[in-house]
Amino acid sequence: MIEFKHTTKEFKSGNNTVRALYDVNLMINKGDIFGVIGFSGAGKSTLIRTVNLLEYPTSGEVIVDGKNLVNLSKKKLREEKKNIGMIFQHFNLLNSKTVFDNVAMPLSLDRIKRKEIEKRVNEVLQFVGLEDKVHSYIDQLSGGQKQRVGIARALVTQPSILLCDEATSALDPQTTKSILELLKRINEEYKITILIITHEMEVIRDICNRVAVMQNGEVIETGDVFEIFSKPKTETAKNFVKSVVHDEIPDSVYEQLQKSEYSGRMYKLDFIGVNAGQPIVSQVAKRFDVDVNVLFGTITELQNTPFGNLIVELIGEEVEIARAFEYIKSKNIKVQEVTTHEGELTDHHRCDLGNVIHG
């Protein structure tokens, strides 16, 4: 559990002061995978660094598992840090040492028996899938493998909290996925609370259950990931959501609609937290005398629930289309018709006529 209470951090350099954090209040519960997202310079790194006191807050408190680390003696603080693992964007591993020695490092700072160190290191390397790289040097590894070493090093002291500062930002999408899956496994199997900093909404979507949006040192929005994705309040949050769920209607759809010979009707269906097992498209096609064409869509998954939108074309009798429309609506899916007026091709605002069926 991590609690930020009115946490403020200022950096003074010469005459000017940069306020990197301002009155941050956040509660990260045990077992959370908590994401913090924001643009560059928003204060995310500063925030995560106050948790293990790499940065001391100027005012306010950071409570970790019930303790305010600022009040601890140096020795106690070092002890407490073993309970907080951390991984970094650029891995921060020692090139002069092997994978084994890198992972063993946190243990070798204490007087722990060699046997015990070996056992723990091998165990954790097995967990991250690097048992065959024990004796390799860091520069012989790929980026993804390096981050696995970083994760192993963070886990070897059996912490209850894992801090990740842009842990996947230096990795390609494929590798990012695999590292995120590993983090999720860590959260599930070891019950470790994870605080993850990112500027990629995909990371939030893929593994987080809760999220805070930061801007100019302040937390401007916070909530369940689902909540933020379905009802983002601030402009920043909306933009982040848009970066993964494209809900703009492509030009080609409007173009198609404009053709005089076109006789179908187009609808945009928004899925928000609808039961995953609902094959809505095929149900509509089966129950009503309409043809359904899926034209576009982004459906992603948020905590095992589909989330996103589809643009479909319904072709058939007006009456049937109207019935199909009502049916879709009854399934708790937001549905609106896509219409266009001549000369408005590039006007992408959501059609206000949405829920009305004419004709």
Binding site: L54, K81, M86, F88, N92, L94, L109
Partner: protein, 217 residues
């Protein structure tokens, strides 16, 4: 050639003696000063305005005094330490004071090359300042430190040649007293070849060691 080979061989030994002893003490001095310069600077693990403010100018002063002047200037100190101001052993005191601060700057540079992220990781896992130096900074900088010591050793060979001025002996002394003052070009040539061979050898050893440590073949 007007010198016997015995004189040359003795001179080689004298040079080796001066270089190794002063390198040993100079490296210790340089190491302590270099590490101090790094860790006490602003924003580093043992930030200390006072210590940095004292050590930094002292190192600069010694770095800026030409060796030949340092040699003469500290004669009283030399006499105090080794009991005499003349001779091979007496040359070691100014050599150490010359090379120590030089090595400290080289070590400072090597240590500053280590990625800040390493220190960050060390702090995050709760390492003490001493552990950060010993288990993170030094191992990461080690290959670069070897090159620094190599450079210092070569600088030292040059400095020992000047130690001839206070009767320090060594190859440089032979070159000046026999070669230069008695116009013996052959002796000059021989001593130069020996010095060049020394430098080549040391540089090669340094390079090989560094490459080994960095595991490049």
């Amino acid at each position: 050639m007007k010198v016997s080979s015995q004189i040359i061989i003795d001179a080689i030994w004298e040079t080796l003696y001066m270089v190794s002893i002063s390198l040993f003490f100079g490296a210790i001095l340089g190491f302590i000063l270099g590490v101090t310069l790094v860790v006490t600077r602003k924003g580093h693990i043992l930030q200390n305005k006072f210590i940095f403010g004292v050590v930094n100018p002292i190192v600069n002063i010694f770095r800026s005094i030409p060796f030949i002047i340092l040699l003469v200037a500290i004669i009283p100190l030399t006499r105090l330490i080794v009991g005499s101001a003349i001779g091979t052993t007496a040359a070691i005191v100014p050599l150490v004071l010359h090379i120590g601060p030089y090595i400290s700057r080289l070590i400072e540079n090597s240590l500053l090359e280590v990625d800040d992220g390493i220190i960050e990781a060390a702090k995050a896992m709760g390492a003490s300042p001493f552990q950060i130096i010993r288990k993170f900074l030094l191992p990461e900088a080690f290959p670069s430190l070897i090159l620094s010591v190599t450079t210092a050793t070569i600088g030292l060979i040059g400095a020992t040649a000047m130690a001839g001025a206070i009767g320090g002996g060594g190859i440089g002394d032979v070159a000046i007293t026999y070669g230069y003052q008695r116009f013996d070009n052959t002796t000059i040539l021989v001593t130069v070849i020996i010095l060049v061979a020394f430098v080549q050898l040391i540089q090669s050893i340094g390079n090989v060691l560094e490459r080994r440590l960095r595991r490049v073949s």
